[in-house]
């Protein structure tokens, strides 16, 4: 069951075209990695999929519905959440307020309370600091808050933009294993946009993005062999 189908997506900023026909898909319960070096167009892809950036061509189909060009505000209603680049902390608001906003579109108070409970249980450190302003948390704690907030609305698909950015290698591994666990236990599909090759470890399928186009893809066991292709793409050197 395909949750997200992107076909021939083109977009850019003014006269600068960044995406030249990106096609990919994410199925229910899958972890899909979109790998690429800087300037490849990874963040632009996510911004176009979420509607923050207007697509000049191509389509985005979410759960069977055409959502190309839909306002980002409607995404949560479709069960899609995004953890933006830099984690998107609302710095002046407290941890608990950030979490509450994660469930902004959830009407049922009991559901919200249950989601909050779940978040605090999964991330006890957030409970400890729930009255603290989000801007004062460390990078790793912010990553947890970002994930916790993303899960508050019980999404079916999570878009994660460069979770490893600004994190130490240890924290990066931690973040990835958290995402993998979320996928395993809650069945949330994940589109993981990353530069770091460790992301391949938790991916069921992977794509390599280079200069605005998908140049390679793999699934299952082949995913790990993409490492060599990545080396070629990033450094121009065969493994």
């Amino acid at each position: 069951m395909t949750l997200l189908a992107v076909d021939g997506l083109c977009s850019g900023y003014g006269s600068l075209q960044v995406l030249f026909g990106v096609s990919l898909s994410v199925g229910e319960g899958e972890v899909v990695a979109l790998m690429g070096s800087n300037g490849a167009g990874k963040t632009t892809t996510l911004r176009t999929v979420t509607g923050l950036l207007r697509a000049t061509a191509g389509s985005v189909i979410l759960d069977g519905h055409h959502v190309t060009g839909t306002a980002p505000e409607r995404l949560v209603d479709h069960g899609v959440v995004m953890v933006p680049e830099g984690r998107g902390m609302l710095r002046e608001l407290t941890v608990s307020e950030n979490l509450a906003l994660g469930a902004y579109t959830v009407r049922d108070k009991a559901q919200v309370a249950a989601a909050l409970d779940r978040a605090y249980t999964t991330f006890p450190i957030l409970f400890e600091r729930k009255e603290q302003k989000a801007g004062t948390l460390s990078g790793g704690q912010q990553q947890m808050l970002a994930l916790g907030r993303a899960l508050m609305a019980s999404p079916r698909l999570m878009l994660v933009d460069e979770a490893s950015m600004g994190l130490s290698p240890v924290m990066t591994e931690r973040a990835f294993s958290l995402i993998a666990e979320v996928n395993r236990t809650l069945g949330v599909a994940v589109l993981l946009v990353e530069q770091n090759v460790l992301a391949l470890d938790l991916a069921h399928r992977a794509y390599v993005l280079e200069k605005g186009q998908v140049v390679a893809s793999a699934e299952g066991a082949d995913v790990r062999t993409m490492q060599g292709q990545l080396r070629e793409a990033y450094l121009g050197v065969s493994a």
Partner: protein, 292 residues
């Protein structure tokens, strides 16, 4: 002296309502609105005119005219948001500022065209009672302003910290893109900001005009400028700062204005604004984000 301070606080309360109007709009949209003064003035003109000439057989009392001014101010705010500011989303903030200047200019010139340049009598909507305080006289509008401003400050604080939509507003102020991704309909936040700003402008106009004696085109924009000075000194993205700053400016205008003269008082405020802009641009209570 203390009495003068209290009177200054009352005037400062009017400024603080205008300042809150400006800061509400600025913190959520990053646009500095200089239209608040004339929005309130135009609404009051309409209300008072209605009171004098009647419409469809109904002659509202002065109090009712004041309430009409408040509601009309809100409606005008909503109209400006929809017709002028919404199309400008995404354009640089200075374009927004020029747009609000255009709105202020348009409304003031419209007032001129419809009601002429002669001062328009502005009776007090809350009667003419007065109160002696520390040697100075506090009139009914002034007392109302003090109470109203306190109420507005308290109400807004409760709204922003205790309600769901208030939280959404604070999220939009912090980061509109992230707020959108969380499902917040930021357009509604903009509508709320402008509508509330309009209501506050109408209320400030209704109570300030009787204190000044009459209503003329641009007289409320002059008051708005003092409010703006207060907001800049307090911090353009801090509601608390806006209130504190405006009260301060009100007291300075009240004390220096009556003891020395209005020009010196304007000079002091000007120096204060300049000092803040150069030494601490985010204002006394603002965050560094304010200086975008």
């Amino acid at each position: 002296m203390l009495g003068e301070v209290v009177v200054g606080l009352a005037i400062g309360s009017a400024y603080s309502m205008l300042a809150v109007a400006v800061v509400l709009v600025y913190s959520s949209t990053r646009v500095l609105s200089l239209a608040a003064g004339e929005i309130g003035a135009f609404a009051l003109y309409a209300g008072l005119h209605w009171h004098e000439d009647g419409l469809l057989g109904w002659h509202p009392t002065v109090l009712e005219a004041g309430l009409i001014a408040v509601l009309l101010g809100g409606a005008l705010g909503l109209l400006v948001e929809r017709v002028v500011m919404r199309p400008l989303v995404g354009r640089p903030p200075l374009d927004g500022l020029v747009a609000t200047l255009a709105v202020a200019l348009f409304l003031a010139l419209l007032e001129l065209a419809l009601y002429g340049i002669d001062p328009f009598a502005a009776p007090s909507p809350v009667g003419d009672g007065s109160f002696d305080v520390f040697g100075s006289t506090l009139t009914a509008p002034e007392i109302t302003l003090l109470l109203l401003a306190a109420g507005v400050a308290g109400g807004l604080w409760l709204f922003l910290t205790r309600t769901r939509f208030g939280l959404a507003t604070r999220a939009t102020t912090s980061d509109p893109t992230v707020a959108r991704l969380l499902g917040v309909k930021v357009n509604r936040v903009y509508v709320f900001a402008w509508g509330t700003a309009g209501l506050l402008a109408g209320a400030a106009a209704a109570l300030l005009a009787p204190i000044q004696g009459s209503l003329t085109p641009f007289s409320l924009t002059t008051a708005l400028l003092s409010a703006l000075a207060g907001a800049v000194i307090g911090g353009l993205d801090s509601l608390g700062g806006a209130i504190v700053g405006s009260l301060l400016v009100g007291v300075v205008n009240g004390v220096v204005g009556s003891r020395v003269d209005p020009t010196t008082s304007a000079g002091v405020v000007f120096a204060g604004v300049l000092a803040v802009l150069l030494l601490r641009p985010q204002g006394l209570l603002g965050s560094t984000r304010a200086t975008a």
